[in-house]
């Protein structure tokens, strides 16, 4: 039965240019498919930004969890539980910084005063020579 059908089919005349038309149609479908795919793809810059954002998200979430898992990190814990003591220590540190800055600027002013004095004396002598 199958054999007969095949024979019959072979006898049917193939229309002219059928192969060419089929090939053209297939190319057309392929072209359409490519265009549709392109619409769904993001531009290159967007893809890299998306990758970078994913990295940042993964690292951020990871670090957040790691920090939560290690609350005993000495360096990140407040030394003072009492705000008054913390305030005293902070003020002591800030005052020490300010005092040293003042000391440094004081020396600078002294140096400036000396320099001005020397300049005045030099100017006086130059005037006397004239």
């Amino acid at each position: 039965m199958d054999k007969l059908n095949l024979e019959e089919l072979e006898r049917i005349p193939i229309p002219e240019e059928l192969e060419e038309r089929l090939s053209k149609k297939i190319d057309e479908w392929e072209q359409n498919e490519k265009q549709t795919t392109r619409h769904f793809l993001l531009p290159r810059a967007m893809r890299y930004t998306a990758i970078a954002a994913s990295f940042a998200l993964v690292f951020g979430v990871g670090i957040h969890y790691l920090q939560n898992e290690e609350p005993m990190n000495l360096a990140e814990q407040d030394t003072y539980k009492d705000p008054v003591k913390a305030q005293q220590e902070a003020e002591r540190a800030l005052n020490m910084l300010a005092v040293n800055l003042n000391k440094g600027l004081g020396h600078l002013e002294k140096a400036k005063a000396l320099s001005d004095k020397a300049e005045n004396s030099l100017n006086k002598q130059l005037k006397a020579l004239k």
């Binding site: 000495l74 305030q87 220590e89």
Partner: protein
């Protein structure tokens, strides 16, 4: 190939940029559990709490409020032991050079050496002061979102 490496590096740099903001002063955290070294850390939270009950400045001619309100943390590292002091000083000098701190002031007065360094950034600024006395070495690290003007305001009294 070269382009691919550049793109990969770009992606990694952008991804890591979000993590570097708080990494700067972590360099000093290693002293927290170092032998013969005392480490004090005052957080932004505790500074805020302290600020609420602020009293007038104890030292005449000094106004610390301008800077205090902009700080996010203070680290104080102190050592009296000779070997630890030498290590502390060398480590701090290395750190300051590596992280590109600039010298703000150096004072040599009555046997005391004071070096003040700064690193002013958009996200975080740091002022580090190293005081080396005859019997003690102290490093103070002030970090926060401040400018050099805020630092210098402390002296304009």
């Amino acid at each position: 190939m070269k382009q691919r490496i550049t793109r990969t590096l770009l992606v990694v740099v952008v991804a890591m940029a979000s993590l570097t903001a708080s990494a700067q002063v972590k360099a000093f955290e290693k002293y927290a559990d170092m032998k013969n070294v005392s480490y004090v850390y005052i957080s932004k939270y505790m500074l805020g709490m302290a600020g609420k009950m602020a009293t007038p400045a104890a030292v005449p001619g000094v106004d610390v409020k301008a800077l205090a309100s902009k700080l996010t943390g203070i680290q104080i590292i102190t050592s009296e032991e000779k070997t630890a002091r030498t290590k502390l000083k060398n480590d701090v000098k290395d750190m300051l050079a590596r992280d590109k701190y600039e010298v703000l002031m150096q004072i040599r007065d009555e046997g005391s050496k004071v070096d003040i360094y700064h690193s002013i950034g958009k996200q975080q600024s740091v002022v580090a002061m190293m005081v080396d006395d005859d019997d003690e070495a102290t490093v103070m690290v002030f970090s926060g979102n401040f400018t050099m003007d805020d630092v210098m305001k402390m002296t304009k009294q």
